[in-house]
Symmetry: C2
Subunit: 130 residues, 2 copies
DNA sequence: TATGTGTTATAGTTGAAGTATAACAACAAA
DNA sequence: TTTGTTGTTATACTTCAACTATAACACATA
């Protein structure tokens, strides 16, 4: 599979799995309706326990990224959506604010912060373009 | 002091301290050269152990936010700056990218993501304004 | 019936987070 | 000199998250 794990990282394995599945959805590498490996299959593939993979899948389900059918397995949701949209947007805004505050506190110029955001997001600055 | 801690949070106490000091610097509530409470003083104030506060201070020092003098205590750096600027910028960009990827994967429209970033940062969209 | 899903239960190891005490080194002030 | 304050270090302990290991269960399908 497409996963690359770092067992030395301070980021828990189940979080690394979660993050990369999310990246896969965002980059269209994982399409709606597509099935993920079973918990046992993925666990065996990456050399971790069944429960570690299961934890990642449970969180992805709770967050609205995937749906889980008892026999069909774990599928990318047709239209991924957070259960509490307003709450999610508030939270996302807070996380943006924390990143920006940290950069500001370290003397990074607003122009550069904006530039990093644009590069990271692929968005154009101006509303005139896509 | 200005700290508000949540002992029920999954975010470690030393991280909460760190985050709020950073916010204080970014918001100018904490000025360069200003001194923070001593480890014992702050620990007693918020009802935690000396080592928990010390851990937060050590990290803030390693990240370039504060300087620590053995007797003068902990001071906000005159010009806070990450020890490895290039590495920090790369990391910041990755963190932006992860937030954006997550929002995209959840079907949040680019316009709304951009709007949240603008609101969170206080920046204007266009380069024409400050 | 056999196999492959996710799910649940139990028990154990490892390491981070936090606490509790104590002591040390360095400087400032009484 | 003595006292007090600073950060620092050391040790030991508790609690809990992360992860592992095994086993069993419920459900659907081939």
């Amino acid at each position: 599979m497409f996963l690359s794990l770092d067992f030395e990282s301070e980021v828990p394995i189940y979080q690394q799995i979660r993050l990369q599945v999310i990246q896969g959805i965002a980059s269209r590498a994982l399409a709606p309706g597509e099935s993920l490996p079973s918990v046992r299959q993925l666990a065996s593939e990456i050399g971790v326990n069944l429960h570690t993979v299961n934890k990642a899948y449970q969180i992805l389900r709770d967050e609205g990224f995937v749906v889980i059918h008892r026999q069909r397995g774990v599928l990318i949701a047709e239209h991924p959506c957070p259960p509490d949209l307003a709450g999610y947007l508030d939270d996302l805004k807070s996380r943006f604010a924390q990143l920006v505050a940290e950069a500001k506190a370290l003397g990074i110029k607003p122009d550069q912060i904006r530039k990093l955001f644009v590069e990271a997001s692929g968005f154009r600055l101006q509303a005139s373009d896509s």
